[in-house]
Symmetry: C3
Subunit: 255 residues, 3 copies
């Protein structure tokens, strides 16, 4: 079972390596995969979305260690959850909100014999979460890592707000490396025909794939995560629209 | 046999992780290596050069999955090639142009039983190419992945243009992280003695290694990829010359 | 035993991949971990600090390959060291200064049968250091890689300078991705009560963890590497203070 890491640690310091070293010290056979370490610092919801966008692509039993942890050292709990056949380890601050399903079981990480020998007040990624992942991958039962809890911190997924006549006020929830604007409108919630307007600017046709747009044309597509995206074929919708994460826009049903 | 990934996906989204998850879901033992994910978006030739610069350093049978794919979803084909003892998987858009040798055998990826269950129109890296790599690494024969083709899209390597008296008009084909200017003049095509001028500025001596230059001095060397490079010892030729990829320059033979 | 890589090669070229390919060509089972490849070009001391900050988190026998190597091709030696149960491979230019302990044993890499077939003058990371790591991980004895040496290049760790009345002139030795300022004052050298002033600006309270600071407040903590850090809860001390690596500041003992 792979261990997949998702943090806001960046890639130029030693922090991610320290976590990997801690995992390998416990479990030299662990297969460690990076999701990304470039979550905006302290942006818990961005980490939650990134996890949502890829966790189902991993094999069953994968252990996701997510460390976006502004409350490290405080009374916020550390948790290990199982849900949908996957394992999740990290701070109890909502990072797993969009991945935990109805079958979720959670323990609070309290069994200090599975922590690092010395636990710092500022780096539980290395001292608590990585060791927990190493032990879990080695066969230690989650139940042994601490007592069960049933009140994890959870965020609601930011759903579009219905307006009138089937129109909705929606939101850009993520802007990717290409400048594609990923929205909070799920494929199954799209009307058959619709118009999108953002920042006073109408978006062109809805298409199946990028190359159906003219080079430089603003279009909408259903992206690979299953959400409506506003994109430019061979260009950046972010730059063209000067768009920001969290920005609202309007989708209107057409008959 | 390792699976080496080369894309323009960047490193801050979930895209690379989704590919790795898809590979591991099919082949949990796969050893996955990143070449880079920072190819300029949609720059097929840059990916082709980066592949050329390192593929021979990998062990035989390595599977290179290259996804710089502006035509995803359109009629452009997906292919699996074998050449020179290596395997190559990705879109048929020329990304493998500089790595395919005379012994190349190619199939078009058409056997949908080796695709993801649901294939998106925008992310064949995850839904077609990663699964093909996982299966190939597991022992599935390339021939089973689809029918043979013999007309892949291929680019010519951008060779220098001969001028007069042994002079050539050459080109910067890549600028690296250090600001070294990698040119299209192969070591074996260098005259014994030559002068280089770029942007009206003469380059200093030709040297064997960086530290032979004065600190801050512009020199030429044969770089580790076997091409002439214009470099600055402990500095950036890119910054000093305000150089751009694709920029032309003149090399003159000296007697 | 894992092989951990630390370089200034950046992540957008083929250089790191070439090293990994070279390792896997010799030792297909090698578990390769990236520490970082974003050390400032040619900044040997920055690499030395990053190695110090994480090497003890790795399992015994880990092979650290550190390539920040402005002298590549010149007469600077390549070395393989063992120290404290770990292995270190790279140029003899001081990169291992902060990790080598009293039990250090070093050989100069001279046995060319353990080099790549062709050794370039500009990329010993690929042609000498990666192969040495591959062979070492496969069980080749360090002693076989070359003759012993006992005069490696070593830097002194930049210790704070004592002033008067227990005050010290200290230094920012690293600024991390979050903008935390890591100083050269080790936890064990901290007076019980102290004041810190930097750039004429007094730092607020000394705390145990980030979230004890008000949002945006400048505080000091002992960071996860065991050094005093100047930080901002949910913000960047680097930006707030316009701080630079190498910058001096004053710590005064309070009674």
């Amino acid at each position: 079972m792979p261990i997949a890491l998702l943090t806001d640690f960046g890639t130029r310091d030693h922090y991610v390596a320290a976590m990997k070293g801690a995992i390998l010290s416990i479990n030299p056979q662990a297969a460690i995969i990076d999701i990304t370490h470039e979550i905006e610092p302290q942006n818990i919801k961005s980490a939650a979305f990134t996890l949502l966008a890829c966790y189902r692509d991993f094999p069953a039993k994968t252990i996701f260690v997510v460390v976006v942890d502004p409350g490290v050292g405080s009374k916020r709990r550390g948790i290990a959850a199982s849900s949908g056949g996957y394992n999740f380890i990290g701070p109890d601050n909502g990072v797993f909100s969009f991945a935990l399903e109805d079958d979720t079981k959670i323990v609070e990480l309290k069994s200090s014999e599975y922590f690092a020998e010395r636990v710092s007040s500022t780096f539980h990624g290395r001292d608590i979460f990585a060791p927990a992942a190493g032990h879990l991958a080695k066969g230690v039962e989650r139940e042994i890592l601490g007592p069960p809890i049933n009140d994890p911190v959870l965020f609601e997924f930011p759903k579009p707000h219905p307006l009138h006549d089937g129109a909705v006020m929606a939101e850009i929830i993520h802007i990717d490396h290409f400048g594609n604007l990923i929205t909070n409108i799920a494929q199954q919630d799209l009307p058959e025909r619709f118009r999108v307007e953002i920042g006073g600017r109408p978006i062109g046709k809805h298409r199946k794939f990028f190359a159906e747009g003219e080079s430089g044309e603003l279009i909408s597509i259903v992206g690979s995560s299953g959400f409506l995206e506003i994109v430019v074929n061979q260009g950046s919708a972010e730059n063209l629209l000067n768009a920001k994460p969290g920005q609202n826009f309007c989708l209107t049903r057409e008959d």
